[in-house]
Symmetry: C2
């Protein structure tokens, strides 16, 4: 095979010239080979090979108004929860010939807005987003107005009509709190994220529900808001440790994995034994950490499934199945149940050692 210098990109015209046909014929070879005479087709195919021609998708996209591109906007792919979501999204997209652009909002509505503008400019076909909070609403309304389909992942926004894939945060938080209560805990602190984030609000509600149902009066000093970051967990833990001994918590419920890490680091640095002195549990698993050492009791969510289902929903909106009634399908709402994985950090297994993690039915 002969190598060509290709300083400028090879176009369909170049291929056509080399094969001695028109551009249209080349296009047919690419898209509907059956409509081209076999001899011609072979000449064209050879020219394509020789020139290393790869059709310019931009031109096609411009003409058809479809880019076969999805975007995934989360707060931070560094968070294993979102990483797994990304993996799930990408798998489904890839299998269906779609490409995924990803971005990190760092929980900032402003950064989200900037991204969205750039993505709209690129005419993405659809968006998967874990919105920063209710402040994201205007953006989402804009998407609806423009007719760009999107799926809310992990976080629903009140009044926004769209497919949603979320976890049962209220129920999960309630069960996790009840688990702690069942172990005899009464002074349970909640180290939470930003109340602006829906999951944080829901987890707080679940926590409060559980306390109330068990006749435990919530205490303001045991509920600390922050953000879903390690340093925020550290700060909260320090604050809790500074409480007078008789009101210091005996258990800490961290609302997400990052917060738990911060809390645990701080407790360890302060020589506080987990779970003997203070029990710890959190929402969202850290799979690799768990595999390395099944220590932290968590309310795990099927992160990757959030991504695969979300992506599937989105693709279905982009290519509605033909047997549909013609009307756009109503928004779907999938609530994935979390799973309580009891390990050692909350003291449930103090007596049992070397055992496998126990999975309770949720």
């Amino acid at each position: 095979m002969q190598m060509e210098e290709s300083p400028a990109a090879v176009t369909i015209q170049d291929v056509a010239a080399r094969a001695g046909v028109s551009a249209m014929t080349v296009s047919r070879v690419l898209n509907q080979p059956a409509r081209v005479a076999p001899a011609t087709r072979q000449r064209v195919e050879q020219a394509i090979r020789e020139l290393g021609f790869v059709p310019n998708a931009l031109a096609r996209q411009l003409l058809h108004g479809r880019t076969h591109t999805l975007a995934l906007l989360v707060s931070d792919i560094g968070n294993p929860f979102f990483t797994q979501i990304a993996r799930g999204v990408e798998d489904v997209a890839q299998r269906n010939g779609y490409t995924v652009i990803f971005g990190n909002s760092d929980e900032s509505v402003e950064k989200e807005r900037q991204y969205l503008h750039a993505l709209l400019g690129r005419r993405i076909d659809g968006l998967l987003i874990a919105p920063a909070g209710n402040g994201s609403r205007p953006m989402l309304d804009l998407l609806i107005q423009r007719g760009t389909p999107f799926v809310l992942l992990d976080r629903a926004i009140d009044g926004v009509q769209a497919d949603v894939v979320i976890g049962d945060n209220v129920g999960g938080a309630r069960k996790l709190t009840e688990h702690l209560i069942g172990l005899g805990q009464r002074r349970i602190a909640l180290v939470n994220g930003d109340p602006e984030v829906p999951t944080a609000r829901d987890r707080r509600r679940g926590y409060l529900d559980a306390l109330r149902e068990h006749g435990i009066e919530p205490r303001a000093e045991l509920i600390i808001d922050g953000v879903y970051r390690r340093d925020s967990g550290e700060r909260a833990a320090r604050q809790l440790l500074a409480l007078p001994p008789d009101s210091r918590p005996t258990a800490i419920f961290a609302a997400n994995n990052f917060l738990a890490v911060g809390v645990i680091e701080t407790l360890r640095a302060a020589q506080v034994s987990i779970p003997r002195d203070i029990a710890v549990a959190c929402f969202d698993d850290i799979e690799m950490a768990a595999a390395l050492d099944p220590f932290l009791t968590v309310m795990a969510q099927p992160a990757r499934t959030f991504g695969t289902i979300g992506a599937q929903f989105l693709l279905e909106r982009l290519d509605p199945s033909p047997n549909a009634s013609g009307r756009p399908a109503p928004p779907r709402r999938v609530v994935l149940p979390p799973e309580l994985i009891v390990r050692v950090s909350c003291g449930a297994q103090l007596a049992i050692s070397n055992s496998q993690p126990v999975t309770l039915n949720s």
Copy 2:
């Protein structure tokens, strides 16, 4: 502000019509506002706002041949090492007005090839890739031939002229092995990835170098190739445990984090105590796991920096600084030194408890 129905996308023509000017004038307002009379500009800006016009980047891209899009192709973003790289890449890209498409190759050259074809079709401006192995070479040659700049991340390929950001795998593996030897270990197993992957080859070499320098004869049954996956680590560990007692290893060097997790899980299931019965160490840290419990001794790499430097290199190729000589800059090669983080899994700190992880200078 008045809402418009926008069934079809709003174009620059629509804006022009509404503002009573030509499309060109609208284009000027967007790109060189100074050249438009203030009164006209305001009319146009209002029309843009009223219609919610977002210029179609595809059209621009088609015209200019630049998409301001980068692609990141790694084996699996689920691997925290690559996740951090992705985060680094995305940060730099975002700050410079670029967008990032990501893909997972799962170490398959074929999947890589398919991706690359799709990405070339989309006319990405540049690529960051952790190639699956030497089999990726033809693809990379194709990129060179087409003049699409790319950066090799984590893995260099022999004879490929391109910017490279890699770790010192030989040196790191040697030091980690020496650390084990220094602790009195003699029968050190290597649980490795696919020798096709450059990092696996280099880590093996470093391991062998260290053994030889210390007069230890490498043993074939202690060197197990596989792939960088958890199940491969499990299999290898089982294989090692099945060895007769007098040739069973007293330490295991896992060539990456996934392998280490598999090894440790298997050892734990077999009631083998770490580090008492068998010491374990690996390449690549698992940050969250380490924060949760500083257990595993690792040769950590500055993953995020791989991403930021790689992205910067790529951007510089896309917009060469004007003071350049005109010739394309020669390929750069950055070798980032890994850092030995001694924790407890290899027995160095058996006597010391509750202490902070120790960082040795590398």
